[in-house]
Symmetry: C4
Subunit: 331 residues, 4 copies
């Protein structure tokens, strides 16, 4: 079967992954309305294509927080990559470096930060962080990330509690015994009381700021009000995200929320978006609406499930080609 | 099968209830447009989720007409609970008390008010009333309810005649011989000429007022004009309701009507809503739009059909957890 | 099978009529968009139901051009009733008289005007007219109708040529040999060159006026501009109609066009509407939007197909009951 | 099977063409959203039909760039007609001449311009041109077309690169060995690096102008900005087109774009449209919105696939009859 577009990878992953893993990756909260809206909202946006522009040379590189990437698509933080491919996040890190783009490693990785770093030295990586009830655990993670030359800290804000993903509840989802959330081994066990602190507020940004010189990117912002607060609290970037529709159902699609966030931010910090990117033209739409770069979540996992590092590179390469073609055709 | 969300209870009830009972509970008037709109209208409403608020402590209790309930979801008046579970309304009363919420017992109960009272002494209950051609029958019901310490009178206004529910006509729906509308035994027989008085007007609120010191809650209001009239006629509460879409088809969804009713009432009386509540996030939307509390109809019957008192508690507990989670995730 | 609503008659007719006859009655032009829109447009209109009004006594009689009918639903002109029931238009006339409403007999009847008259003496009837290339034929029809005490002339304006109904073309539709367009016998043969005059203009209203003292009702108006012209040319009534979606596809639904026609007419003449009426609540909507009365086309044919005169009475009685119930429930 | 409307030809072609050929003709870019929107957008447009106008004589002829055609529907440029019928573009040319309309021959024809010319001497034809990296090849084509009395040059602007048509990629689409892009034989081979020049800009219009006295029609314009540029660069006509949805997906439907282009052009040049025409009423809508003439792409191919020259005439004749009927019925 030819892998022509990202849906082909999705179909492959659905067919070959164990049901419990597929369900976990695919899951959305409640009725999955927001998960699906993320995609549908892109389809509602129309281009106004312009003709007869010289599109023989196009530069699709960009910079995020000063680092150049080969095209404006990075890897969003998602958990448990070993569910998709035995080498897990190590493969992800290698694919991202090979494609010269940014990989945001999740706290819920099945490899340690050290393993990820060692797998692809020199790659551009950010580290995604939750703030734990046990602040020492968070602090230790931040310091490890900084020591390993991760170049940004992505603070996820939309998980005071885990969203209700019905299939996961039905499946009694948990990691298979041979996988672990290695970054947190002693401090954390999946499926017990959540270690995440639901009392976190904006003031904790200052605490985080005090721990590190890394730029802080805040993830999960969906409103102009919160965008303004983020800027005022001194973050360097904002990822407009609804956690792939896995947390609060029936909030806005991210591409719709992007518009008001970009407007509120008025260029003071960089704005990114994740959720619902399935084609190169989606990337172009997000950029046209003010995003500096987009991040892909599930499609990266489908790529891993297909052929590990190589499969993820295929996914990125398809997006890159589609993005370049869309730019040319839209003039 | 795991019971994860309210749809699971619906599927169970559809599978295990006798068709004639399922059809009766599920029935909507005419094309069932309004019945279905009640649900669809919730799906059209989007949250604007806010981040980084301390949601570690949340108080979801509320008060309705001065009585505290454990969370803002009560049991709407629906008829014939013995069709769903042998103990009928006695189970409903027990479940409501166990969950510390309000149960509105229907005139069309298959247990007497006395049986309901005795089944769960001390529970918070309101009594739902129609005004009969035979006013003495209505008066007697009001006085029995007051004597039994029901704490509110809910006057249903949208049944001058019964709506046309096609499946019930096809099925020739009537109660099985061993069930009775016990509250009205001698005064009433199902399926003969309706005992309900179609000539009732706003002036009858004064008559009702003269019979009792209980607060009067008016149910079935869908317009700002009627909301204003209700306030002027001295009611204590309004339930925005279209009778679950069982009366006039192609009127507004209740959550849409709620907005204009709340606006018209301007806080002078409490406003509640029923119809279409299927998830905790629906409760949150109703409250955000000005409802003090919501009431569930069919989901309560599905819970009864599943496991009687225990099943209804399951339904309420799921809603409670979902509501709490939605509040946390929406900030 | 219980006949509970008009769809039941439709299902019956579809099952028991010969395919060629069913297809002919069901046919819409081209993609049948307008035929279906006539129905969908009603579904988009919402009631604002009012409560606590005395609806114990409701008078649903009305007058059209001075003649009282038992409720505001008449029989629209449709052709070839013998395709539905052996007695054809004679049964239609009897049913309309029995229900005390108005029947608009079509030029394309399979009974003569004289037979129709004789079948139900004293019934309220209008005659539907096309203007023929052979004006003498039209004049003779008008004079026969007037002599037979038809009480109105309905001039159809939307058939300069017959619409393209694909199924009829595929079926090679024509009347079976034992049926005839009896009113026009010598002057007319189906399926040859059309006898209808495509050069008819507003001035021909004056010519028609000169032939008869009967009120002229113009049928097929869909715009405010034409409504104004109709009033200026002295007609007594307007039927907003798109010929059941059988002529020009992708024009407006009649209930939508009604609004602008009523607005343009400003009460100077009576306005009626046909197309898409399937429930009593549709009738109420049409009246609420300014129609004096509605006419049903296909549902009348389904009634005939079910049980002739008796079946059509069933259809009318169901509409009448649904209309009365809707009025009561809408307050 | 009776061929009653264009969908009948589509169904025939889908059934009888080799899958690879059907897929190639049917293909749209990416998700085929724009391809399908071209059709759906017509369905959203409603007529305001006027009555009682003399429609006995209707003249449906028109002139495009001074040449009379029998009705306002021409043949859009599409490639590889031999995939549909052995005689390929020769049949197309004969059918167009027989129906007295304009045929725009594609650069990607499987017959030479000379063969096309010889097949139907005297027919009205325009030649569709891409600008090649090898300008000499383009210049030679222009000069051959002019010498062969083609009467217009249609410059396609929306193919700096070929759109991503997934099915073609999956099928590994290429011409069968016995067919050739004959106009370009030595200069061009399908499926190697594209010979089309992506660096073309508006200035190349001047270069083209310098080569020929033929009128230049620019094809692929979708915005008012580009329409203005086209007029300023001295073209004689504009074809509003999105290449049948085969290039950039999720741009506007052509009938929607037509409105803004017509508005921008203000009559300074002729405006045509292609894409989504499936019924005579679509033609009428396009004309009502300001198009001078429409062009059909896929339907012409279906006609060829059905019966070559004769099948294409059938398609044109059906459109012609439907167009005339729509005009009459819309008044």
């Amino acid at each position: 079967m030819a892998m022509v577009c990202l849906s082909d990878f999705e179909a492959y992953a659905k067919k070959y992954l164990p049901k419990i893993a597929w369900d976990y990756f695919a899951a959305g909260a409640d009725d999955c309305t927001t998960r699906d809206e993320n995609i549908l909202a892109y389809k509602r946006i129309r281009f106004r294509p312009r003709m007869l522009r010289d599109v023989s040379m196009m530069d699709i590189r960009t910079k995020i927080l000063g680092s150049e990437i080969s095209f404006p698509v990075g890897i969003a933080p998602t958990g448990f990559h070993q569910l998709a491919w035995p080498d897990g996040e190590k493969s992800t890190a290698r694919a991202a470096r090979a494609m010269n783009t940014c990989y945001i490693a999740s706290t819920y990785s099945t490899c340690t930060l050290e393993e990820i770093s060692a797998a692809a030295p020199g790659g551009l990586r950010w580290f995604q962080l939750y703030i734990h009830r046990n602040r020492a655990a968070s602090q230790q993670l931040v310091q490890r990330a900084e020591a390993l030359r991760f170049q940004g800290l992505v603070l996820t804000t939309d998980v005071p509690y885990t969203g209700k993903r019905r299939d996961d509840v039905r499946n009694g989802f948990r990691l298979p015994p041979h996988m672990k959330v290695k970054n947190l081994e002693r401090a954390f066990e999946v499926c017990k009381v959540s270690p995440l602190d639901p009392s976190v507020t904006w003031n904790d940004i200052y605490w985080l700021r005090s721990l590190t010189r890394l730029p802080i990117i805040i993830k999960g912002i969906l409103t102009r009000e919160d965008a303004e607060l983020a800027v005022r609290h001194g973050v360097q970037g904002i990822i407009v995200s609804n956690h792939g529709g896995r947390q609060l159902d029936e909030g806005p699609a991210t591409i719709d929320a992007l518009v008001e966030v970009v407007e509120a931010v008025r260029g003071r910090v960089e704005v990114y978006v994740d959720g619902g990117i399935r084609k190169g033209s989606d990337v172009l739409k997000a950029l046209a609406l003010g995003a500096k770069c987009v991040f892909i979540g599930r499609p990266a996992l489908w790529g891993l499930a297909y052929k590990g590092e190589e499969g993820l590179q295929d996914v990125l390469r398809i997006l890159q080609n589609e993005f370049r073609l869309s730019m040319a055709l839209a003039g």
